[in-house]
Amino acid sequence: MNRESEFFKLSRTLPFDTRDAAMIFSLFSLQLPFLILVFVLVATGQNSTLAETSGGTNENNSGAAFSVQPELTQHDIVPILLLRCTVCHGARKQEAKLDLRSRASMVRGGNLGPAFIPGKPEESLMLKRIRAGECPPQPRLIEATVKPMEADEIVKLTRWIVLGAPEVLEEPDVAGSLADKLIRKEDREFWSFRPPQPTKIPPVTPSDRVHNPIDAFVLQKLAEKDLSLSPEADRFTLLRRATFDLTGLPPEASEAETFLTDKSPDAYVRLIDRLLSSPRYGERWGRHWLDVAGYADCEGRREQHLPRPFAWRYRDYVIRSFNDDKPYDRFLLEQLAGDELADSEHATEITQQIEDNLVATAFLRMSPDPTWANLTGFVPDRLEVMADAIDVLGSGVMGLTFKCARCHNHKFDPIPQRDYFRLLAVFKGAYDEHDWLKPELNGFGGALSAGLGERYLPYVTTVERQRWQKHNAGIQQEVDLLKAAPQTTHTEKQIKEIEARRQPEPRIMALWDRGESSQTYLYRRGNYLTAGLPVQPGVPGVLTEGQTPFEIKPPWPDAKSTGRRLAFARWLTQPNQPLTARVMVNRIWNHHFGHGLVRSSGNFGKMGDKPTHPELLDWLAREFVGQGWSIKSMHRLMMTSNTYRQASTVAPRGEQLDTGNRLLSRMPLRRMEAEELRDSLLWIAGQLDETRFGPAEPVKTRPDGLVLAGKRRSVYVQQLRKQPASLLESFDLPAMNPNCLQRSESLVAPQALHLLNDTAVREMAARFADRVLRAAGDQPTRQVHYIYWTAVSRPPSAEEQEACLQILTGLTEQWTKQLIVSGKPSNLEATRKALTTVCHTVMNSAVFLYID
C-alpha cells in the first residue's frame, strides 16, 4: 500500500480552506507517524486487533512503539455520535444539513457552519449545543429514542477536538484470510468444522436387514454390541407412524384401505410418496421450521403486544416451500437474503417469486421485539432484537452457539468475539441499531410508508395488488353513486356499510437492506457503551479455510443494497459448507427418530453432543446436497430404511445394552405433539376445518384465563405470546423466546384434567359419537370397530373390544336410567351419551395419545 497516496486521499476529503490550514497541519503531525506504524504492523501480521479483551484502540498503547498513537481517534468518537446524534444528523435525516457520521462531514458542517473547529473546542458549535443541553433536544428525546450525551462522553469529544480530531486509517477487518491469528489450525480440525467427509458404506452381514445405506451404518454400530434392529413393525403401526410423522394427522380411511390392501412389495414406499404429496405435509413440516424461526403473530416483550398483521404470509411461504420441496439451499437463500435476489422496487411486475423472496426474509424478523414503543426502543433494546436474530440463525441453521461470543470470545468453540460482530455487520444494512425501522405505525425517521408501518413493504404480487385495487375501486364507485343520488335518511348509514368492506392495503412483513449502514464496532463485554475496534462483515473464521472466499458485491448494477447478506447466504449454502447440510439432515432425523444423530441439534460445537453415528451423519449430509438439497428425498431415504420401520418394543437385551436408544435398536414410543393432538381430536370428531393459508384464526381468551382456538389446524391458529391456546400449551407448545429447537415432553396432571374435563374436548367427543352412530348404526361391535379405526387406524384387539363393549352396555343402561329419572326417556339419547363417553375415553387413552 502506498501510504503517501493514502494520506493524501484522506486529506482530499477535507475541505481545503485557509481556515483549516492549521488543522491540516496538526492532523499531519499527529497522524503520519501513526499511519506508518499501523501499516507496518499489518504488513508483519503483528497487529493484535480484536483480541478478546483488548478490542479498544486505547488499550494497546503501552510500549514505546504505540506512544505516538493519538490519545483519541475517530473510533472513540463516532460510536458516541452514532448513539446520541445521528438519528437527526445522519443517514436518514440531516437536520440543518448536518451529518455527524464522519470527521469530514463534521468539519464540512451544515447550515450553521462546521460542527467543530479542530483544536478549538470553545468555538465548536456542536460542543456548545451539547453542553447547553440543546442537543439532542430534550422534548424530542423520547420521540427519537435517544439519550443525552453522558458527561464523560462530552469530555472525550472535547478532548478529541482539542487534539485536532485525529483520525487513523485501519486495514479493514475481513474474514477469509488464512493468517487469522485468532483461529488455530487445530481449531479447524474439529469434526463439525470440516466439510462432511466421503464415507464408505460398511459391509454388514447378514445383509437382509439392509434396505438402504442408513441400515448398514446403524447395523454396524449395533453389531459392536451384538445387537440388531428390532423386527419390522406391523402394517397398522407403520401406517400410523408414517402418517403422523409426515402429516401430523391420522390416516384417512381411504388411505388406510389403499395401503393395507396393497400387497405389492413397494406398498410402503408408495404410501410414503402419497403422504409426501399431501398438502398436509407442509403444514406438519412447516410447523417444525416455524419452531426454528420462532414464529409469532405479535411482536412481544411489552404489556400490549403489537400485532404482526402480515406475519401469516411467512407462515404460508414456509408451508408452500415444504410442499413444493423447495431445495433447502434456495430456501435459506430466500430467507436470509431474499430482498437481494431481485430488485423488487423497480420490477415492472411483481411475480410470486419476487413476493416470496421478500416474504421469506421475515425469518429474520421473528424475534420478540419491543422496539415499537419509545421506552423500550433504545439502542440496547434493538441490540437484543438483533442478538435474537443471530441466535436463531446460529443455533437453528448453523448449529453454533454464537450468542456466547457476544460479550467475549466463545469459551469452548473457536468463535472470537470479532466473529460475532462480523456477523452483526453482515446484517447491518437491514438491522442497524443506529438507524432503526420500528415495527409500529408511525415511526421516526424511516417513513417509507407512513401509516402502514415501516417494516411492511407494498410489493405483493401484481395480481393481488390489482385485485385489491379493483375491489376498493368498486367500493369507491358504489359510494360515489350513492353520493350522486338524491340523499335519503339512510344514505350516510349505507355509505358507512359500504366503506366497511374496504380492504386495507396488502403488505409484506420483510427485512431488507437499506444501503449504507453505520460502521459496526465490536462492543467490549457486549456493552454498547464501550465500543472497541471497527469490524467489517465476514463469516466465522473457523469455517473459512478452503472455502470460496466471502465476497460482497452489489446484487445488481446500481443497487442500493449492500449485498452483504446475499454474500453470506451464498457462502452458507456452498455444497461443502461444513455445517449447513449436517444441521438440516440432523433436524430431519430428529423429527423422525425422536432425537438427532447429534442430540444437541442447536449445538454442533465442543460442548454439544458428539454424533452417535458420525459416518452416517456425513453420508446423509453429502447425500442431501447430492440430491439437490431435497428435503423430501431425505424423508424417503430415512423412512424407507429398516431402521425406521422397526418396532418400538423395548426388548430386554436392547434395554440393557442400548440404554437411551443411542444405537437405534428400536423406534421410540412418542406422545403426540401439541398440534398433532389438537388437530387429531378435531379430525376424529369430524370438525377439523382444513382451510389452508391466509390470516390466522384468532384465539379467544375467556375471563377465567382459558384460551380457546377455533377449528382450523393449529398451524393456522393465531400465535400470541401471551395467549397460547390452552390445550396446546398444556401439551408443551413452546414459547418462542426466541425459538425452539427441541420440544419438551412433560407429563403432569393438568393434561389429564384438560382432556377429561374441558368443554371443547367433551364437545368433540360428542361429535365423534355422532360420526360413529352415522357410520356404524346401533350395532355395538361395529361401533367399537369404527371408533378404533378412526382414532387409531386399526381394529380393536379382542380384549379392547370386550372392555369397550362391556362398559358400553353398562353406560347405556346407566344413561337410560338417568334419562328416565330426568323425565326425558330416550333410547337413542342413551346410546348417544354412552358412545360419547366411550369416545371420550379413547380420546384420553394412551393408545390414542402415543405413537409406536
Binding site: P368, T649, A735, Q742, L849
Partner: protein, 484 residues
Amino acid sequence: MRIETMPTNFHPVTRRSFFKHMGTGIQGAALIHLFGQNLLADENRAVLSLLPQPPHAPAKAKSVIHLFMNGGPSQMDLFDPKPALDMHHGEPYSNKIAGEIENIKDAGALMRSPFKFAQHGQCGMWVSDALPHLTRQVDDIALVRSLYTTNITHEPAVYLIQTGRMITGHPTFGSWVVYGLGSDCENLPAYVVLDDPLGLPVNGVENWQAGFLPPLYQGTRFRSSGSPVLNLRPELQDPPEIVQMQRALLNRLDHLHKRQRPSQSKLDARIASYELAARMQVSATDALDISRESPQTLEMYGIGRDPTDSYGRRCLFARRLVERGVRFVQLYINGQIWDNHTGLAKDMKAACDRTDLPIAGLLKDLKQRGLLDETLVIWGGEFGRLPIAQLPADKDEKKAGRDHNKNAFCSWLAGGGVKGGTTYGATDELGLAAVENRVSVPDWHATLLHLMGLQHDELYVDEHGLKEKLTGVNEARIVKEILA
C-alpha cells in the same frame, strides 16, 4: 439439573439420587413406585416431572410466599424515614436529577412524607403509620433499604425483579425454585399464583412464565372463587356412576396398552398422572375451602370486611397452600396500586389499608402454626419512588405523588433462615439512591435462592450453549447480613 434441552449437562433422576430422595421420605409412595423404574429408560429424553430434588445445601425454608407489590411502593413513606425531606420540603431539586425522571414536565420540589414514622418492636425498626399492623411483626422481618434496579419503566423493571432480565422470555424466580427443588406435594401444582380477581398486574401472565424452561415449571393460577383450577371439573358434570365407569374403562385400556409395551415407564407415569388428576380435584378444592377456618383466623386476615377481604383471602389461601406442601405461592394485587404518581397521601394509604392487616395476619398465623420457620415470605415491588413531588396537571400540591425511582427501593423478608428484626442498607439523606450496603437485583435473587438451599451459580440450564441462570452473567452477592 434435569431438562431435555440440555443434553450435555443434565443430571437425570439417577438411581442414587432417587434412593437419596426416598431416604428423606419426602416422596409419595405412588411416585416412589413409579420412578423406581428410571423414566429415562428409553430414548434418553427425560420425561419431565415435578419430582422433588434435593437442594444444593440444607435450608430451613421449604416454601415461598411471594407478596408481589407491583407498581413500586414508596420507600420514604413506608420504611425509610427521611427527616431531611421535612427540612428541605418545597426546595427545587429536579434539575439535579433530570436524567432520572420519567415525567420531567410534572416534576415538583422535594416533598416530605405525609406519614409519621416511629420505631417498633424490640429491634426498633422504623415503620410509618401507614402500616399500623405490620409494626407488630417487625421482629420477624429483615428489611432491606438499599435495593436498586436498572430501569425506571414498569415492564422492564418488573421483568428484572421477576426473572433477573429486563426482557421477557426468561423463567421467573418461582419457576427457577420449582425447577431446582421440584414439589413435595403430589396433589397440587408446585407453583401457585393467586391473582387479583380485579385484574392482572403489569406484564400479565408473563409474571409467572417459565420462559425457556418447559411450561411445566410455570405458575398455575388458582382462582379465588368457583373452581380454583381451569378444567378441574367439567362444566356439566356426569353422574358419579358414569364417571366411575369411564375411569374403569380408561384404566383397563391403558393397562392393556402398557402390557404390550414393557419397559416404557412413561406409560406407568401417565396412568399415575390420571390418578393424580383425580386427587387434585379434591385437594385443590379443599385447599381453597376456608369455610372451616375459625372466626378468629378469618378476623386476623381481615376476611369478611372491606377493604381487606380480597387480599386477606389470598393470604389465607397462601397459608393453606404452603401447609399442604406447595413450593411457591405468589400473590398479586390488581393494576398498579402502589404506582402513586399522584395522590400519594390518599392512594398509597388505600393500598396499605388493603394489604397491611392481611399480611400482618399471615405472618402471625404462620408463626403460631409453626410454619413461619419453613416458609420464606417476600414482600416488595419492582422499584422505589423519588424524593421530589410529581404534580398533577393542575399543579395542586395536595394531590402530589412521586415518580419512579430505580436507584433505591425497599423490600423485606420473613421466615425460614431470615434474621428477624434486621434493618440492612441505607439510602442517601433524601432517599434518592441506595448508598450503603447496596443490594442489586441479582444479589437479591442470589440471597433468596440461598435461603431455599439453592446456589445461584449452580442452578442453570443450557440454552443454545449458554448457561442461563437467574442471576445472569454478573457477579451476585449473597446478603449474609440478613440471614439467621
